[in-house]
Symmetry: C2
Subunit: 198 residues, 2 copies
DNA sequence: ATCGATAAATGGATTGCGTCTAAGAATACT
DNA sequence: AGTATTCTTAGACGCAATCCATTTATCGAT
């Protein structure tokens, strides 16, 4: 809590230094063509240090969202049951509130230039799944049958990631991720392709 | 088309030989503790040959579904537009029709024994995302706004994978994947947690 | 039978991610 | 000074996946 950390060697390189170096290289050479060694070399630190700051190469882009998903997952796990979905909406709204992912937005808008199209799609799928798993658990706790819980959970998790995607692709300037998520929630209410429309 | 392949050295080891060896080892030691070299050693072929049959280690479990998803993706791409979702339901029904994934079902039912819980969740997410991408494209072609298209697509893709999961976890004996998918489609019509329920 | 053409199997090298460990370096507290 | 704490770093490791050159097996045609 105090400004000076109590003891120990101070950090020589910040997360942001590494993230900047990584994004530069992703733009220059593309994601696949950039190795972790390249990133640390440009940042002026050893390769080992990279994994003190990020758990993987893709984590450079996703750590911001990952943290928020982690707290959301924890919050969802703490809810005993949620019959009408009120808790879910609140927790997911908190997830996206004031969310402005620097590196991720850059990557999403320049995905084709970075050769990231596939990579981003897959990484997003993993985050979506992690969130969906927590949502499905809560749904089952709330009495929803397993099959239905999986589907409803996937829908809400997709709303979160679609909101981030839409926000990034619309220049990341207009509106917030939260606004996009509100749109997404409204969209769920009137989903097309519903079998009930037959 | 003819029974005898025209020329060239005949295949010495079948896909199934490798798949069986892999599943055995997954059950014995777990997924992570089983290397590709272990699999090929038990199957009696060289490590290089493994990648002539499977594109990755996890592909051993998922190749069956992957093939079906590939054709579904192609079919979806060939549809110019689908305003009421009729085509979507047909293509997805075809995807799951008479689907009985041997290795995958075994892995899903024994996921905890194989130390596969995380692995399967992630692999499933990737398949779900691939299908969802094709569905979202079609939705956009059909005039659905991008944000909504992503969400609706995720819902349907989730229905497919949830059906497979539900089928595998119910002993893989009772009913078919197709039956489960029909259930899933009915579930979509009356999704809980809908904001319209406010 | 012999000879190519084709297709598969193989050995081996390579790259890169992610993990781990032991050693070293910088700081604060006493 | 000494000590505990915290970070950095070098280096090695295992493994997945790719790549290439070589070998082996079968075909069809001469």
């Amino acid at each position: 809590m105090s400004s000076t950390s109590r003891a120990g060697r101070p950090k020589a390189s910040s997360r942001e230094t590494l993230a900047e170096a990584a994004c530069e290289l992703f733009l220059e050479r593309g994601y696949d063509a950039t190795s972790v060694a390249d990133i640390t070399q440009r940042a002026g630190v050893s390769r080992s240090s990279f994994f003190n700051y990020f758990s993987s190469k893709s984590d450079v882009l996703w750590s911001g969202l990952d943290e928020r998903i982690t707290t959301a997952v924890d919050d969802l796990a703490a809810v005993p049951h949620d019959r009408d979905g009120t808790e879910v909406r609140h927790i997911l709204s908190a997830l996206v509130a004031d969310f402005a992912p620097d590196s991720l937005a850059l990557a999403m808008t320049n995905s084709s230039a970075m050769g990231l199209d596939d990579e981003l799609e897959q990484d997003a799928a993993l985050r979506q799944a992690r969130l969906a798993a927590a949502l499905a658990d809560l749904a089952r706790r709330s009495g929803v049958v397993s099959l239905t819980a999986d589907i409803a959970a996937a829908t809400w998790a997709a709303a979160v990631l679609a909101a981030v995607r839409a926000w990034a692709e619309s220049g990341a300037g207009r509106g917030s991720v939260g606004d996009r998520f509100a749109e997404a929630v409204r969209a769920i209410a009137r989903l097309p392709w519903s079998p009930s429309a037959i």
